[in-house]
Amino acid sequence: MSENANPNPPRDAANWATPVDKLDVGTIPDQAMNLNVQGRRPMSPLQGFGQLWQKTYRIRLQDTAVTPQQVIAAWKANFPSFWPKGNNFYGPLQGVRPGEVAVLNLTMPGGAKLSTGVRVIYADDESFSFMTPQGHMFAGMITFSASADGRAPDASDAGGVTVIQIQALVRGSDPLYEASFRLGFGHKAEDKFWFDTLRNLAAYFDASGQEPTLTSVCVDKKVQWSEAGNIWHNAAIRSAIYLPIHFSRRLFRKS
């Protein structure tokens, strides 16, 4: 089996991030709780503890002339603004670009705050992908894409209805997160989060009234006990411990 011998750089070369062992957070606003990202390793879908799920969320933009490329351009430029209220995405000002690291401050069920992050591993005109770090509730990749008329995101046909898709290929990172998914509230919170995001995107393009859909496939039902030690990095536990310190610092900074 010979090595791929094409001397020209592949067409996808500029769309991929470069490899890193550990994440490095750039400048983010003072109000952000920057925890559980700096120095953490990115996690592939194979490195989590729980069942491996492929979850695909979709919404159709009926009665608008917006193209997949326009959707992705707006989404990449204004990614945080489409998130549900109470959740913050602190990314670079330039928007979503390969290699960038963002800090996420999320509101969990029950109102608890969680600080984690993502790394942009891929971005082109019709899609972009994030990879999660150690401690995130999921280990894996999430791909955001738009396509024409329900065709695959790679189809070049710009006619018809544009369909926006979020596809997560993820495992619960550790036994605690996996328990929340098995009990149902973890998946429920995740599904609501992405449904709300899709509704916000549809509203931005004046295509309100469409309801998102979800297709879930369990790719691997087994848990990986060898990865149970991931709980050491659990961002929910670490955020809960750190939260009083964060607010004290902000208070003293103000006074």
Binding site: E3, A17, L46, S127, A152, L169
Partner: protein, 107 residues
């Protein structure tokens, strides 16, 4: 046996008890059906190992990587070793970024 889509096709051949999937073209969401079919063909022969040969691949996007992760998860669930061959330096780098290289032998 060859499984084909517009810009991608996969051919399954045997080297002893190892099934080799020769992949050609672009691995993106359009490749899903052909890739799955080729993998299923290989699995039917109960190989001791599956090798994905990327020598003929000239494009992989993030959806394509997700497809490969899916195959790897299926192989791991079946305790079947899986390896990647014919990767250019660029694609070796992508396998490092996505940490696929932690779980696949790179030949």
């Amino acid at each position: 046996m060859a499984e084909k889509t517009a810009a991608f096709f996969a051919k399954t051949r045997w080297e002893g008890e190892t099934a080799v999937l020769d992949l050609h073209g672009e691995i993106n969401s359009l490749a899903e059906a052909a890739l799955d079919a080729a993998y299923a063909t290989a699995e039917q022969g109960n190989p001791v190992k599956i090798v994905l040969n990327f020598a003929g691949v000239d494009y992989i996007n993030s959806t394509g990587i997700a497809l490969i992760v899916g195959l790897l998860a299926r192989a791991r669930a079946a305790h079947r070793p899986i390896a990647a061959a014919g990767l250019s330096e660029h694609y070796k780098e992508i396998f490092t970024i996505t940490r696929l290289s932690d779980f696949m032998e790179i030949q």
